[in-house]
């Protein structure tokens, strides 16, 4: 029996209060709920976001999300939307949707400390193709998509011989009706809020970081009132059989209003060595135009089967986006992790940052991470890290 700490209880009370107070009518990246977009399927082929964008998603990114003051061509929103196809062109064919994506990062760890160094590396450089096989009246009813590209060797040194190319996503999608979708192939698990930062506690502790995709079948139901996904998975078949996690993930989000969606998710998986059980409550809320608050509270139980060791971790996360001008956001990410409830130790991280969609297809992001470790028996200095990202997509 685990006892909740005052910190986690106080956060839970914040979330519950937030949920209760938002039960009144109120006037993507998951934070695009700030623009009134509750479901990912509007803009992405993947029902839970990321990966190739739909035509609508590309047009929205060009006309509504990105700043247009630096754009040399027309600033007419309709024209911007039309020119949002591959390489800033109008879509050349109906059946094929190619895209290119690059994300690089400049890291400076331990700011102001000894041995602080700059390091720039490519996080992701890939090419994607969506083949639309649906009927003329609904081309995206049936599609095949695949992504292949460069991927850096994991920085933790866990596998120095790992390939530097990889496919993080390929699957077949079939949407028999506007409500139902069935997807089969390699994709991310549908757990929690899929925030961009793959090193966030909510993603790393739950096994949902950049290379944690799994072969799976995803059944998704969407309506104005709610989204429900169930995803049985069998692990990434490119990995060794012993480490493949087999299990199921599920995610439910309920529409309280056009700009408020609470939900929960559960993920259960087991390999020869490790059994994982995670659950989370989350909420996404939009304020005014473009502003949003997202929060997630979760707990993860990991059993090392060979050693009969069981660890329970708890985390919470709050991320806010404040739209200062078109395309320009101020971010705040607050993260909490108690990696073992039996040990009086916890990690906290505060990440103020800015995110700027300079023009369509170009995103700049600057983040500072102030990390703090709480330990009953010893204290350590805060650490400060800087990350500057450039994200280009065509």
């Amino acid at each position: 029996m685990k006892i909740a700490t005052p910190s986690s209880l106080s956060f839970l009370s914040f979330v519950l209060l937030l949920v209760s107070l938002l039960k009144t009518p109120v006037y993507a990246y998951p934070n695009f709920i700030g623009y009134g977009y509750t479901s990912c399927t509007v803009c992405h082929y993947n029902a839970y976001g990321n990966g190739p964008l739909t035509d609508y998603g590309r047009a929205l990114g060009a006309s509504t999300i990105s700043d247009d003051r630096w754009w040399l061509g027309t600033r007419d929103l309709n024209e911007l939307g039309k020119k949002s196809g591959f390489l800033y062109s109008e879509h050349m064919t109906k059946r094929f949707r190619p895209s290119l994506d690059y994300r690089g990062i400049l890291l400076k760890n331990n700011l102001g400390g000894e041995g602080s160094e700059n390091e720039y590396f490519t996080m992701d450089a890939n090419a994607s193709l969506v083949v639309r096989l649906g009927p003329e009246t609904d081309l995206d009813k049936f599609f095949i998509t695949g992504t292949l590209g460069y991927a850096p060797v994991p920085r933790n040194g866990s596998d120095p011989d790992a390939d530097t190319y990889r496919s993080r996503e390929y699957y077949i999608g079939y949407r028999p009706t506007k409500n139902w979708g069935i997807y089969a192939g390699l994709m991310d698990k549908i757990y929690g809020i899929r925030i961009v930062n793959h090193e966030a506690y909510s993603r790393s502790i739950t096994g949902n970081t950049m290379n944690d995709q799994t072969h799976s079948l995803l059944i998704h139901y969407t309506s104005e009132n709610f989204d429900l996904g169930i995803q049985p998975f069998i692990g990434n078949m490119a990995e060794e059989e012993q480490v493949r996690q087999t299990g199921v993930a599920t995610n439910f989000e309920y529409t309280v209003s056009r700009k408020f969606r609470p939900g929960f998710s559960v993920q259960m998986g087991e390999s020869e060595f490790l059994k994982t059980y995670a659950y989370a409550f989350h909420a996404r809320a939009g304020f005014g135009k473009g502003n949003s608050v997202m929060a997630e509270f979760g707990q993860v139980q990991k059993s090392q089967l060979k050693r009969e060791v069981e660890t329970t971790s708890r985390y919470w996360m709050v991320q806010t986006h404040t739209l200062l001008s078109k395309g320009f956001f101020l971010l705040n990410t607050i993260e909490y992790l108690k990696s073992d409830l039996d040990v009086e130790s916890k990690n906290l991280k505060w990440g103020p940052g800015i995110q700027y969609f300079v023009i369509q297809g170009l995103e700049l992001r600057l983040d500072i991470f102030n990390s703090r470790l709480y330990n009953e028996s010893s204290n350590s200095e805060d650490s400060w890290d800087f990350a500057g990202q450039v994200h280009v997509w065509f």
Binding site: P6, S7, S10, F287, G288, N291, I334, L348, Y374, E376
Partner: protein
Amino acid sequence: MVLKSSLTSLLMTLVILLISSQEIGAKSIGHEEKLAFKKAKQLYKDQLYRQSIEMLSSQFQLHSSETPKGALTLAAYSYEKIEEYSTAIKIYYLLIKTYYKSKNSEIIQSYKASGTDDLPEAPNKLYLYYHRIAESMVQIYLRDYEKLSEKDRQALRAKARMYVEILGESEYEDDSYDTVTERFEKHDKYLVDVVYHSGWFLSTSYISYRNELSIQRESDGLVVPINSTVDGLCIGGGWRYENAFWEYGINGCFSPATMNVDTDSSVTYQQSGVGSTTLIVGPSFLWKPKSGDVSIGFHIPFIYNTGDYTVPTGYTISDDTLLTYGYFLETNWKLSNWGLFTKFGKASQFKSSLWMVGINLGL
């Protein structure tokens, strides 16, 4: 700016073409009057509107129905340009009365009787006059709002709305009249938005920081810094004074938290669960970037902090009670009476940044 200038030039050219394309009027006029009208058109084209009116006035009675239609129309446009909207409206009414009296009565009576249902059709020129009158009325409303009586404001709103609704049911092509109603509404909203109001609120938040103190060995005077980590709840409230664009206020909270303290040097000192009392009070200055429910700005906290440290025999602890100040970046998201806020910043004499994330409730 360039676009606006181009549109203005285009509009002026169209006006000149419109005036040029029609005869000066059915009235019989002499050579000098024709010459004056021609010069007035050129002056209008050169954006010399006052001179254009003076030129027309030298040969025409601008408030007379005997004056040719072209001269009156040009005068009305010129009066709009020099922002003498009342005079422009009088001339447009004169034109309507002179040339479209019966059709105008028919339309207005129909509108009064059954709104926009089954409105009779009218010549395009009459619609143009309706459009220009509505435009002039909104300009008067925006410019002279403070000087106008409430009765006059209502009359302007009602008449302009009537003309816009009539135009909305017509085949009239220049749909820029759509903006007239929007501008009335936007101005009325602005007047509400700029009004400041004040209120009290309660707050509760999670707080985290490290304070900085030191322990001194009395025998040799060795001073060693003490590390600490503090986190807990901070409960308080405040008062705010705000409109839709700015928010000012004063707020604070009281935090009875616990902390762990230790040293990492030759003097061994370690204690967990130390009681810590912190009081944070200060003003906030916030900007609402989208004139809505989200605000961002600065909070200047004054901080009182004390810890219930156990002092070993032969040692003294300095800076165990602090009175200091700091600076925070503050963001707020407000929904009805409730709000979420974050504060992130630095306090003087504190070893680390100070974080707060919490909710508040307006009273």
